[in-house]
C-alpha cells in the first residue's frame, strides 16, 4: 500500500503538534494544557503510523493518551486549580530560559542546516513489514532478542514506580 499525500499529512500533523506544544506551555489552566498535550500525543501517534511504526503508535495511544494523561487529568482535578490560576504563571528564570532556548535553538538550526549531509536521504520503499513481529523479535527472541534483559529491568522499574506512587500518594507522610 502506498502512502497517500504524505507531505500534506506530515505538515498537518506537525502543525497540530507544534501548536499543541505551544499551548501546553502557555495555558494558565492545567486542564487545558493537558488537553493540548493529548492532542499533541495523538498527532504524534499518527506520525508514528506514517513512519511505519504502528506498534509504537498503538502503545502511544494506549499508554500515553489513554493512561498517563488520564492520570494527569485525575491529579489536576484533585488539586485546587482555581487558586493556582490566579497566581503568577511563569517563574523568574528568564535568563536561564533564554540561554537554554538560545542554545537549543542553535542546535535546532544546526540540525536543519547540517542535517542534509548528516542524513543523506536513502529513500526506502519496501513493503510494510510485520512491524509488531519485528519489535517482538528484538524484545523476546531467544537469539535476536538483545533487549530481553532491558525489558525485564523495565518491568522492575514499573514495579518500583507503582510502589513509589502508592507510598507517595498515601494519606499522610
Amino acid at each position: 500500500m502506498n502512502p497517500v499525500a504524505t507531505p500534506f499529512f506530515f505538515y498537518l500533523l506537525a502543525g497540530i503538534m507544534i501548536i499543541g506544544g505551544i499551548l501546553v506551555i502557555t495555558r494558565k489552566n492545567a486542564v487545558h494544557s493537558a488537553l493540548a498535550l493529548i492532542t499533541t500525543l495523538l498527532a504524534q501517534a499518527a506520525i508514528y503510523l506514517m513512519l511505519y511504526a504502528p506498534f509504537v503508535a498503538g502503545v502511544q495511544i494506549i499508554l500515553y493518551a489513554g493512561g498517563i494523561m488520564v492520570l494527569f487529568l485525575f491529579v489536576i482535578m484533585l488539586i485546587n486549580i482555581e487558586r493556582t490560576q490566579k497566581e503568577r504563571q511563569f517563574n523568574k528564570q528568564w535568563l536561564v530560559g533564554i540561554a537554554a532556548a538560545a542554545a537549543l535553538g542553535g542546535l535546532f538550526i544546526a540540525v536543519y542546516t547540517k542535517g542534509k549531509t548528516l542524513f543523506p536521504e536513502g529513500r526506502v520503499s519496501y513493503e510494510e513489514v510485520q512491524n509488531t513481529q519485528g519489535v517482538a523479535t528484538l524484545l523476546f527472541d531467544r537469539h535476536a532478542g538483545v533487549y530481553m534483559f532491558a525489558f525485564e529491568i523495565a518491568s522492575l522499574l514499573l514495579l518500583v514506580a507503582i510502589i513509589g506512587a502508592v507510598v507517595m500518594a498515601k494519606k499522610r507522610i
Binding site: 500500500m1 486542564v31 487545558h32 488537553l35 504502528p54 506498534f55 502503545v59 493518551a65 487529568l73
Partner: protein, 432 residues
C-alpha cells in the same frame, strides 16, 4: 475525475480479498466509512427502540406504543425532541471543554469501527495492530468523560467522572489480559507467529477450526468471561453503571448536559457497546464466520447458510404482518396499521433482495457478524433488567481482586497450553 472514480470502482470490484484500506483505495474507503457511520447510527436508533421494548416486556409493561405502530417511530421522535431542546450550559462551566467533551466521546466510540471486520473484505481497513488500536481508541473515551465531568463544574458530575475514569482504567487491565490470551492462541500455527490484526484473528480461528471460546476448554471460555464482564464495566452499563448511578449521582458525568450534546453521549454509549461487542465477537466467537464453517462445508451447506439473512428478514416481515392482523380494527388505528404493514413490506423486500445470488454471497458475513453482536446487545439489556448495581468498592474489588488474577492465571495457562499442545498430541499419538 470521472476516470479516477471509475478506476477506483473497478479496482475494488477486482480485488476480492482485500479491504478498501488494504487496497489503498481511498474512494472505497470513504464509501465504507460513510456506510459504517450510517449503519451504526441506524443500529443505535434500532437499539434504542429494542432496548425500551425488550426491557419493557421483561418488566411486564408494553413500552413505547403511541408513536407509530408499536412505538416504531419513538426513537425518531426522541431524536427530534433532543435536537430541539434548549442547549443549556452552566454559567460557571469551562465552555470550551464542555463543548468538546461529547465530541471526544463520540469520536472515540466511532473511530474504533475503522478496524472492525464485518467480513473478510468488509472492513474499512485491516490494521497491523487492529486490536491494539481498538483498545487504545476506546480507552480515549475516558478522556471525554473526565473532561465532561470536570467542565460541568459541579459536584455530582465530578464524582461521576472520577468514578468512571477509575472504573474504566481498572477494567482495561483485565480486558487487556483476556485479549492477550487470544493473541497467544492466534500464534498456534506452524510458523508460531500470532497476529494483532482483527481479520487475522478471525482467520486464525478459521484455520484452527474452532472459535477461540472453545479453544483449550475451559481457558477460552474463562477469557471470554473476563472480557464479557470487563466490557460491561468499560461501557458503564448495568450492573456497573456507577458513573451514572441514577439513585446516587442523578446522572453522573452528564448531569449538566442537555439536548443535542446529551444525545451525543447517548450515541457514544450505544456505539461503544456495539464496538466492544464486536471485539468480543471477533476475538472469541469467530467474527463473521458462520456456524460450523469447517464441519458443514460444500456447496449445499454454503447455499443453506447463505439463505439465512434473507429468511430472517422475511420472517421479521411476516411477524409484522401477523401483528397487522392483530391490530385493533378501529378506524383510528388505520394509519398505524398501514404503517406497520409498510414496515413489514420493507423488511420482507429487504429479505427478498438478500436472496439475490450476487448479494447473498457478499452479505452473509455481515449478517453473521451482526447477529452475534445482536446477541451481545440482548445480553446488555438482560443484565439491565436483572441486576442491581454494584457498590464502588465492590466494583473495584471485582476488577482488581477477581478479574485481574484470573486474567494473569489465564495468560500463563494459555501460554502453557499452547506450548504443551504439540508435544502432548505427539505423545498421545505415540501412546495410543
Amino acid at each position: 475525475m470521472h476516470e479516477f472514480i471509475q478506476q477506483y470502482i473497478v479496482s475494488y470490484l477486482k480485488s476480492k480479498d482485500l479491504t478498501p484500506g488494504g487496497a489503498g483505495n481511498v474512494f472505497w474507503a470513504t464509501v465504507y466509512i460513510l456506510l459504517v457511520f450510517v449503519g451504526l447510527s441506524i443500529a443505535v436508533i434500532a437499539m434504542n427502540w429494542l432496548e425500551r421494548k425488550i426491557l419493557a416486556h421483561m418488566q411486564v409493561r408494553l413500552g413505547p406504543m403511541r408513536v407509530g405502530p408499536h412505538g416504531l417511530l419513538q426513537p425518531i421522535a426522541d431524536a427530534i425532541k433532543l435536537l430541539l431542546k434548549e442547549d443549556i450550559m452552566p454559567a460557571e462551566a469551562d465552555a470550551a471543554i464542555f463543548w468538546v467533551a461529547p465530541f471526544m466521546v463520540v469520536l472515540a466510540a466511532f473511530t474504533v469501527f475503522v478496524v472492525v471486520p464485518f467480513g473478510p473484505t468488509h472492513a474499512i481497513t485491516d490494521m497491523n495492530i487492529g486490536i491494539l488500536f481498538m483498545l487504545g481508541v476506546s480507552s480515549l473515551s475516558v478522556l471525554g468523560i473526565v473532561m465532561a465531568g470536570w467542565a460541568s463544574n459541579s459536584h455530582y458530575p465530578l464524582i461521576g467522572a472520577l468514578r468512571s475514569s477509575a472504573q474504566m482504567v481498572s477494567y482495561e487491565v483485565a480486558m487487556g489480559l483476556a485479549v492477550v490470551s487470544v493473541i497467544i492462541m492466534t500464534s498456534l500455527n506452524t510458523e508460531g507467529i500470532g497476529t494483532l490484526s482483527m481479520i487475522g484473528i478471525v482467520q486464525a480461528q478459521m484455520a484452527q477450526g474452532t472459535w477461540f471460546i472453545f479453544k483449550f476448554f475451559p481457558l477460552g471460555l474463562i477469557g471470554f468471561f473476563i472480557f464479557a464482564v470487563a466490557m460491561v464495566a468499560e461501557t458503564n452499563r448495568a450492573p456497573f453503571d456507577l458513573p451514572e448511578a441514577e439513585s446516587e449521582l442523578t446522572a453522573g458525568f452528564h448531569t449538566e448536559y442537555s439536548g443535542f450534546r446529551w444525545s451525543l453521549f447517548f450515541l457514544a454509549e450505544y456505539s461503544a457497546m456495539i464496538a466492544v461487542s464486536s471485539i468480543a465477537v471477533t476475538l472469541w466467537l469467530g467474527g463473521w464466520l458462520r456456524p460450523f464453517p469447517n464441519l458443514l462445508h460444500g456447496a449445499i451447506w454454503e447455499l443453506v447458510f447463505s439463505l439465512f439473512p434473507g429468511v430472517t428478514f422475511v420472517l421479521l416481515g411476516a411477524m409484522c404482518f401477523y401483528n397487522v392482523a392483530r391490530m385493533p380494527k378501529h378506524p383510528l388505528f388505520k394509519i398505524q396499521t398501514m404503517g406497520l404493514a409498510a414496515f413489514g413490506a420493507v423488511l420482507a423486500l429487504i429479505g427478498l433482495v438478500l436472496f439475490v445470488p450476487g448479494v447473498r454471497e457478499r452479505v452473509g458475513d455481515i449478517f453473521w457478524f451482526a447477529a452475534k453482536v445482536a446477541g451481545f446487545m440482548y445480553l446488555y439489556i438482560w443484565y439491565r433488567g436483572t441486576f442491581p448495581r454494584y457498590r464502588f468498592d465492590q466494583l473495584m474489588k471485582v476488577g482488581w481482586k477477581i478479574l485481574l488474577p484470573m486474567g494473569l492465571a489465564l495468560l500463563i495457562l494459555t501460554a502453557a497450553a499452547g506450548f504443551l499442545e504439540a508435544p502432548v498430541k505427539e505423545w498421545l499419538s505415540r501412546v495410543l
